[in-house]
C-alpha cells in the first residue's frame, strides 16, 4: 500500500540519519523500528494469524511477517499491556506550523474507527488572551507520566506501559467514565452507542494497541498509535500532517522525527531552542507531549 511504502522509505532515511547521530543510538532506534521481532529463533510462543489469503494458521511469534494479521486475543492482550521495552515515547507539536489542515484528525478517525464527533485528536482554536489572537492547537492524550485517569480506573482497564504509553483495554472497561471525569485534558471519548461499522468489525480480533474494534459502552482515546510503533512506523496523525507540525520519537534516545520532512533531530535541542512547554504543568500530570509555542504574530 501507498502509506506502507512511504513509511518504508522514511525508515531507510531515518536509519541513515541515525548513522550520523552516532552508532550507540542505532541499536536502540532499530528496536523502535523493528518492533518486537527481536529474534528469529522460534520462541515456542504460538499465535493464530490470518494469512493474506484469509486462512487461519498457527505460527511462532518469532516468525510473524509484517503482513500477518494476528488473530490471537490472548497474545495481543499480553503484548499490549507490556509495551515495547527500553522506550519512552514522546511527541512534540509545533504550533507555529499548524494551519488547521486537519489531515491528522482524519487519519486518526479512520484508523481507530471513530465516528465524526469522537476525537482521539482534536484540533482546537485557542484564544491568546494577551495578544487577542488565536492559534490552532492539536490536542491528543498527553500520555501523562502521572496519569489521573489510570489512578481512578476501578478495574485497571486503563494503564500505563513501560514505554510511557497510556492504553485502554476495552475488553475489561466497565464504562464507568471515571477516567473521563478525571482527565483534565478532556482527552477521552466514549462509545455512547454502537460504534461505526460494528457489524463489519465483528470478526476482527481486538488489538488494544489500535483499540479496534471499538466497543459500545467503553471508553477510547489516543494510543500514540502503539500498533504503528510496534512496526517501527510513525503514528497515523504524525505521518498524515502536510505541514510538519508533529515530531515523534524516543526520549531515551533523545531523538524525534518530523512526520512530514522525516528529519530526525535531537529532542533536547528542539525543546530548548523553541521554549517548549507542556499543558497545565501545574497539575503535576507530567505530559509526554510537548508544545512549541505558536508564531509571535500573524503579520
Amino acid at each position: 500500500m501507498n502509506m506502507a511504502n512511504k513509511n518504508d522509505k522514511s525508515r531507510r532515511r531515518f536509519l541513515q540519519k541515525l548513522g550520523i547521530a552516532g552508532a550507540s543510538t542505532v541499536a536502540g532506534s532499530a528496536l523502535l523500528l523493528q518492533g518486537c521481532s527481536d529474534s528469529n529463533k522460534a520462541s515456542g510462543n504460538k499465535v493464530k494469524v490470518l494469512t493474506a489469503d484469509n486462512k487461519l494458521v498457527e505460527v511462532d511469534v518469532a516468525h510473524l511477517k509484517p503482513g500477518d494479521k494476528i488473530q490471537d486475543l490472548k497474545y495481543l492482550q499480553k503484548r499490549g499491556r507490556e509495551g515495547i521495552p527500553g522506550k519512552k515515547f514522546v511527541m512534540v507539536v509545533d504550533l507555529a506550523k499548524c494551519k488547521n489542515a486537519r489531515k491528522c484528525m482524519k487519519a486518526c478517525q479512520s484508523a481507530h474507527q471513530l465516528k465524526p464527533e469522537m476525537h482521539h485528536l482534536n484540533v482546537l482554536e485557542m484564544e491568546d488572551p494577551v495578544k487577542k489572537t488565536s492559534y490552532w492547537m492539536p490536542k491528543t492524550c498527553q500520555h501523562c507520566d502521572n496519569p489521573p485517569c489510570v489512578s481512578v480506573c476501578p478495574v485497571d482497564a486503563t494503564f500505563k506501559r513501560q514505554d510511557g504509553i497510556v492504553l485502554i483495554d476495552n475488553e475489561r472497561c466497565i464504562g464507568c467514565r471515571f477516567c473521563v471525569a478525571a482527565c483534565p485534558y478532556s482527552a477521552r471519548t466514549f462509545n455512547w452507542t454502537e460504534p461505526k461499522n460494528s457489524d463489519k468489525m465483528a470478526d476482527v480480533t481486538y488489538d488494544m494497541e489500535l483499540n479496534v474494534p471499538q466497543k459500545k459502552g467503553t471508553v477510547t482515546k489516543c494510543a500514540f498509535s502503539a500498533d504503528q510503533l510496534r512496526h517501527g512506523k510513525l503514528p497515523y496523525c504524525v505521518s498524515a500532517c502536510p505541514n510538519g507540525v508533529y515530531y515523534f520519537g524516543d526520549q531515551n534516545e533523545d531523538l524525534v522525527t518530523n512526520g512530514t520532512t522525516k528529519k530526525t533531530v535531537r529532542l533536547s535541542h528542539l525543546l530548548e531552542e523553541n521554549a517548549a512547554y507542556t499543558l497545565m504543568p501545574e497539575l503535576g500530570t507530567q505530559p509526554s507531549v510537548y508544545y512549541l509555542p505558536p508564531r509571535e504574530s500573524e503579520g
Binding site: 482534536n122 464504562g175 464507568c176 471515571f178 471525569a181 466514549f190 497545565m280
Partner: protein, 442 residues
C-alpha cells in the same frame, strides 16, 4: 417531661393491637403495590432500551459524562446517612424521644442504601462486566472504596434494623395467627427463638451498641468516599478539600427531610397518631434546623472562599454559578430549597406535622437538584474549549429514558419501605412499652 408518647393511658394490649395492625396484606396495600409495580415496569422498559442501545439514549456525552444518574446516586447515599444519625448518634446520647421513630429512620436508610448500589449499575456502560470490579478491582480507585463501603453500610444498617427488632418479631410470631404460612415460618426463623429473657435482652443490647458504634465510621466514610469521587479529580469546582464534611452535612439535611416525610406517611396511613406525635415532628423540625445550619455554613465556605479570589478557574466556576447560566437553578436550590425552608421551620407553627412535611418535600427536592449542581456544571467548564462536536454538547439535558430510570430508583425505595413496613411493625413495640412502664413506675 417526655411528651412524645401519649402519657400512660395506653394498656399493653392496646399497644400491641395498634402497632401490629399494619402488619397485614390489605386491599389498600395491594392496590398501592400494584400501582408501584406497573410504574416500575414502565420505567424498566426504558432501562431495557438503554441496555439495547447503550448509554446513548441518555443526554450524556463526552463533556458531561456524569449526569443525573450519578447525581441521584450521591443523593441516595446522602439520604441513607440519616439512619446513622438518628439511631446511632441520638440513640447513644440516650435521646429518648427518637426511639419510636428510629425504626422509620433505619428503614429509610436501608432502602436508600440498597437502591444506591443499583443506581451505580444503571450508570455503567457495561453492566455485564460488573464482576470485573471484583476480579480486577484495584484499591487505589475511589470507586472500589465506594462499592466496599456501600455494601458494608447496607449490611450493618440491615443488622441494625434487625437486631433491635427481635422482640417485635417474636411478638409477631406469637400474636399473628391469621397471616400466611410462609410469613409465620419467617417470623419463627427470624426471631431466633426469642422469648424475652433478661439474658437475651442483655445480649441484644450489647450487639446493638456495638453496631451503633461501628456504623458511625462506616456511614461517615461512605459519604466522604462518595465525595472523593469528585474531589480526587483535578477539575475546578470538584477539587476541594472540604468536600467530605460538606457532603456529610448536606446528607443529614436530606435524610432528616426524608424521615419526616416517611413519618407523616406512616402516621396517617397506619393511624399511629398516638405513637408518632406532633411533638415528634416538632423535634425533628428542630433537628433539621440544627443540621441545616451546619450545612449552610459549609455552603458559604464552598462558595465564598473560591469566589473571593479573582481569576482562578475555581472563581470562574463559582461566578458561573452565581450569575451565569446555572444561576437560576442555583438560587432556586439555595434559597428555595434551603434558606427559606430553614427560616420557616424556626417558627413553631411550621413544625406541625403537615407544614413540616411540605417543607421537608421542598427541602428534599432542593437537595436532589443541589446534587445535580455539584455534578454537572463543573464538567461543562473543562480546561480546554468544547469544539468540533455536536452543538448540544455544550449543555446537558436529561432524556426521557434517563428520567424514567431515575424515577424507577425512587419507586424501588418506596416499594422496599412499603413491604418491610408491612412485614414488621414500624414503631418498636417493646421499646414503647418499656418507655411507658418506665414512666408509670415513676
Amino acid at each position: 417531661m417526655n411528651e412524645t408518647i401519649a402519657k400512660g393511658h395506653l394498656s399493653e394490649e392496646q399497644i400491641d393491637k395498634d402497632l401490629l395492625k399494619n402488619v397485614n396484606w390489605g386491599g389498600k396495600f395491594k392496590l398501592w403495590m400494584g400501582f408501584l409495580t406497573v410504574s416500575l415496569i414502565i420505567c424498566l422498559y426504558y432501562y431495557y432500551q438503554q441496555l439495547q442501545n447503550g448509554l446513548g439514549v441518555t443526554g450524556l456525552h463526552d463533556y458531561v459524562s456524569w449526569g443525573i444518574y450519578i447525581s441521584n446516586f450521591v443523593f441516595f447515599v446522602a439520604t441513607s446517612l440519616i439512619g446513622m444519625l438518628v439511631s446511632s448518634v441520638l440513640g447513644m446520647m440516650k435521646v429518648e424521644w427518637v426511639r419510636p421513630v428510629a425504626r422509620i429512620a433505619e428503614l429509610v436508610a436501608l432502602a436508600f442504601a440498597m437502591v444506591a448500589g443499583l443506581i451505580i449499575i444503571t450508570d455503567m456502560g457495561r453492566p455485564d462486566r460488573l464482576l470485573n470490579v471484583f476480579i480486577h478491582g484495584r484499591v487505589q480507585s475511589p470507586i472500589v472504596w465506594d462499592i466496599a463501603v456501600v455494601v458494608t453500610y447496607v449490611v450493618i444498617s440491615g443488622l441494625l434494623l434487625y437486631i433491635p427488632m427481635l422482640p417485635d418479631i417474636a411478638l409477631c410470631r406469637d400474636k399473628l395467627n391469621n397471616v400466611p404460612k410462609w410469613q409465620q415460618k419467617m417470623y419463627r426463623s427470624l426471631s431466633l427463638g426469642w422469648n424475652n429473657t433478661a439474658k437475651q435482652f442483655r445480649l441484644m443490647n450489647r450487639y446493638t451498641r456495638m453496631l451503633l458504634i461501628l456504623i458511625i465510621p462506616i456511614a461517615l466514610s461512605i459519604h466522604t468516599v462518595t465525595s472523593w469521587l469528585f474531589a480526587m479529580t483535578l477539575r475546578s469546582g470538584w477539587d476541594s478539600p472540604i468536600f467530605g464534611p460538606y457532603f456529610v452535612s448536606g446528607a443529614f439535611v436530606a435524610g432528616c427531610a426524608a424521615v419526616i416525610i416517611a413519618m407523616f406517611f406512616f402516621r396517617n396511613n397506619y393511624k399511629l397518631k398516638e405513637y408518632i406525635t406532633a411533638d415528634h415532628f416538632d423535634r425533628m423540625g428542630k433537628l433539621l434546623v440544627l443540621v441545616a445550619l451546619v450545612y449552610v455554613y459549609f455552603n458559604i465556605n464552598e462558595i465564598i472562599v473560591p469566589g473571593y479570589k479573582a481569576n482562578t478557574a475555581d472563581a470562574k466556576h463559582v461566578h458561573e454559578m452565581l450569575y451565569g447560566h446555572d444561576s437560576v437553578m442555583f438560587w432556586l436550590v439555595q434559597l428555595g430549597g434551603l434558606v427559606i425552608p430553614f427560616l420557616l421551620i424556626l417558627f413553631k407553627p411550621m413544625r406541625k406535622p403537615l407544614p413540616l412535611t411540605i417543607i421537608a418535600v421542598v427541602i428534599l427536592a432542593g437537595a436532589w437538584f443541589k446534587r445535580v449542581l455539584i455534578v454537572v456544571p463543573t464538567q461543562l467548564a473543562p480546561y480546554y474549549p468544547i469544539q468540533n462536536v455536536p452543538e448540544g454538547w455544550t449543555g446537558y439535558s436529561p432524556t426521557t429514558p434517563e428520567v424514567a430510570i431515575t424515577v424507577a430508583s425512587f419507586i424501588l425505595v418506596v416499594m422496599i419501605i412499603t413491604v418491610l413496613a408491612k412485614l414488621f411493625p414500624v414503631v418498636p413495640i417493646w421499646e414503647v412499652k418499656e418507655d411507658m412502664n418506665h414512666k408509670n413506675n415513676k
